[in-house]
């Protein structure tokens, strides 16, 4: 079994739903972002999803876009980022790290090298939202060779046969996008059609043997509670960033505690 899926299954013995919290690497500075990641893992989140910034993050909404652009005011380097995350992974063995970015910076770094270096640093999953599975054969092979997982996304408008295909390819976990649109609050929100999250997750579960994570638009405890029994991981991105921007680490931790009622890692 994939290392990621095994970790999730084991953790799920004790918790009804796991937490994955998103952090933009380099925002507002490299040091502050690493400190924030360490704090989150210390407070007992199950996963951190670290976004390596790209100049043109087309799947993200205003909060994360602004953070990425701010982070890119300094020169960021993939190799340095991976080593720093590796140190965090060593310091906080009760949590896991997945790396998210867009294709271009990773493509320039080298997808083979990325899979190898991520595995060496104990980063068990990679999320590249603009790399569709059809173009991903070599990337999939590189992940497999290094025993880490590419994380595929499914959405409420993914056609059923494609959903079945993506679900069957998922190993670590399947990232279920909760609604149309980009991450977080944005001016585009009202244009999206609403679908029933319950029906959608039930449909995915019929096809997926891998654990399921749900993200996009989660910001209230009721939403997390609604996911219990239907998904394994709730992914908190823009809402956490918004809280962090308003009140720093303390506001972020308060939001997580309100949403997940966490127990700190010893």
């Amino acid at each position: 079994m994939s290392q990621l899926a095994a970790f999730i299954k084991e953790k799920r013995q004790q918790k009804p739903i796991l937490s994955m919290t998103h952090v933009v690497y380099g925002y507002p500075s490299v040091e502050e972002s690493l400190d924030w990641m360490a704090r989150l893992m210390k407070e007992g989140v199950d996963f951190i999803e670290v976004q390596f910034p790209f100049s043109d993050p087309v799947a993200d909404g205003p909060s994360i876009v602004a953070a990425c652009h701010k982070a890119l005011e300094q020169k960021l380097d993939v190799e340095t980022c991976l080593s720093q995350l590796g140190n965090l992974a060593k310091d906080y063995p009760n949590s896991r790290i997945v790396l998210m970015s867009y294709l271009n910076p990773m493509y320039r770094f080298g997808l083979d090298k990325l899979a190898k270096r991520a595995a060496e640093e104990n980063i068990l999953g990679l999320i590249l939202p603009d790399l569709p599975i059809e173009q991903a054969a070599t990337y999939q092979a590189a992940c497999k060779a290094n025993n880490i997982d590419p994380v595929w996304l499914v959405t409420p408008v993914t056609p059923p046969e494609r959903l079945a295909m993506l679900a069957s390819q998922a190993s670590g976990f399947l990232y279920c996008v909760a609604r149309s649109g980009v991450t977080g609050h944005s001016s585009h929100e009202s244009k999206a059609k609403q679908t029933s999250l319950d029906d959608y997750l039930t449909l995915i579960k019929q096809h997926a043997s891998a654990p399921m994570g749900v993200g996009f638009g989660l910001r209230e405890r009721a939403q997390i509670e609604q996911l219990i029994g239907k998904a394994d991981i709730a992914i908190l991105g823009s809402a956490l960033l918004d809280a962090y921007n308003k009140g720093g680490q303390e506001a972020g931790i308060k939001l997580i505690k309100d949403l997940f009622s966490l127990k700190a890692n010893q």
Binding site: D56, V58, D130, L153, P159, H188
Partner: protein, 420 residues
């Protein structure tokens, strides 16, 4: 040019967020069906003719030819399209496709505003809701175009992220489409983006080259020896070049924006002199101007329509295999070429198209006297009045602006109230 599953050599493809998969498939299918449907093609030709004024002429330039003493110079007059540029060919085609798909709204990105205006014109004619994304800095620089878009009924949304220019506008259009894909069509303005956009835009633009095939034979008894087009996104170049792809004796030259210099950030040269690097962003693989960490970079050109950070995957591929020769023209050479065309031929070219002129004018004196070259005059220059006035240091223009401003009614709202 037919792609292989959306790819042209190593360029092109579909690198889009999963949320857009279904909408993209719908466009793929609709375009495939439409281009084989005689009724659709008849309507397309009718709109090209009756709305945009096609066919556009092929104009012989006797004075320029004599001036350079080399090749015989012809211009393909895309500037005579409705809206003043070749952009119209594409928006009419995609607009009709939107009606065919039953969607009610179009989204577009625009840099200088030419594609924004063309989209707003077609949306008004076809009764479609229209949202245009435009960088806040471009809005400042190109307000007259924004004004017309708004008058045409479009919503113009300023994009304030990143460098606040075309690249950011394209990102934001994609974000809108990610939310609104069920009701909206992303009407991209150039032969870039995910499949089938490069192929589809090139298909609609190929009317340019198809007309030149007929006109050249009718007017001078052969195909042109050489074709010139400026290359921003690449749609006017695709339109002129692709119909001649199999005619090996027809040479093709693409002219990029050299801007102010060859330092990163001062130009928009992606395809020659090793300045661009392969990358995958904004939905497709092509040559991008980027740093060594894969972050896309700022660009510059005196012509706002040429400062895109990437380039059509079709042009990137044809340049790589040597079918198209790529060169560039600097800002000052472009102004000189523009001025020369004004004085010699009585035609006002867009600064974008003036790049093609500048590239051709460099070669013309050295080409045989019986050779024929066709330069794509992709747009007219009325829109560039402010930039050209500044570049030629017209002394009266600032006074005109001052006087105009002094007489401009600033309390418009009060007047309306009084009149009500």
């Amino acid at each position: 040019m037919q792609s292989e599953n959306g790819f042209y050599g190593q360029y092109g493809g579909s690198y889009i967020p999963e949320i857009l998969y279904s909408s993209q498939q719908q466009i793929l299918q609709a375009f495939e069906e439409a281009k084989h449907d005689p009724e659709f093609l008849a309507e397309l030709n009718k709109q090209w003719q009756q709305f945009s004024g096609r066919p556009t002429p092929l104009t012989f330039c006797a004075n320029l030819t004599e001036h350079f003493g080399g090749a015989q110079i012809y211009l393909k007059r895309e500037d005579l399209n409705h809206s003043g540029a070749h952009k119209m060919n594409n928006v009419i085609g995609q607009g009709l496709l939107v009606k065919r798909m039953g969607k009610k709204r179009v989204i577009a990105e625009t840099g200088a505003g030419q594609h924004g205006i063309a989209t707003a014109l077609v949306a008004a004619r076809l009764g479609l809701e229209c949202t245009i994304y435009m960088g806040a800095k471009d809005i400042e620089r190109q307000y007259p175009n924004v004004f017309w878009m708004k008058q045409l009924g479009a919503t113009v949304v300023p994009v304030t992220t990143g460098a606040q220019t075309l690249r950011d506008a394209l990102d934001e259009a994609l974000r809108d489409w990610s939310s609104s894909h069920e009701e909206s069509h992303y009407l991209i303005g150039t032969s870039c983006g995910c499949a089938p956009f490069p192929e589809m835009v090139a298909y609609f633009q190929s009317v340019i080259g198809n007309e030149v095939r007929e006109q050249s034979v009718a007017q001078f008894g052969q195909f042109p020896d050489r074709l010139y087009a400026c290359v921003g996104g690449g749609s006017n170049a695709c339109g002129l070049f692709l119909p001649f792809l199999d005619d090996k004796e027809v040479e093709m030259v693409g002219v990029e924006a050299g801007g102010k210099g060859l330092e990163l950030g001062e130009h928009s040269i992606r395809l020659s002199h090793n300045l661009g690097k392969p990358g995958i962003a904004q939905g497709f693989a092509t040559m991008f101007l980027q740093d060594d960490a894969g972050q896309l970079q700022e660009t510059h050109s005196i012509a706002a329509g040429l400062d895109y950070v990437g380039v059509s995957p079709i042009i990137a591929h044809l340049a790589e295999i040597g079918r198209i020769k790529m060169t560039y023209a600097m800002d000052d050479e472009v102004i000189a070429a523009c001025t020369l065309l004004l004085k010699k031929e009585g035609i006002i070219p867009a600064l974008e198209s003036s790049h093609a002129l500048a590239g051709a004018f460099k070669d013309a004196p050295n080409l045989p006297k019986d050779s024929k070259i066709v330069i794509n005059l992709s747009g007219r220059g009325d829109k560039d009045i402010f930039n050209v006035a500044k570049a030629v240091q017209d002394e009266t223009f600032p006074q005109f602006l001052t006087d105009y401003l002094a007489s401009y009614p600033t309390n418009h709202a009060d007047h309306e109230e009084q009149n009500a």
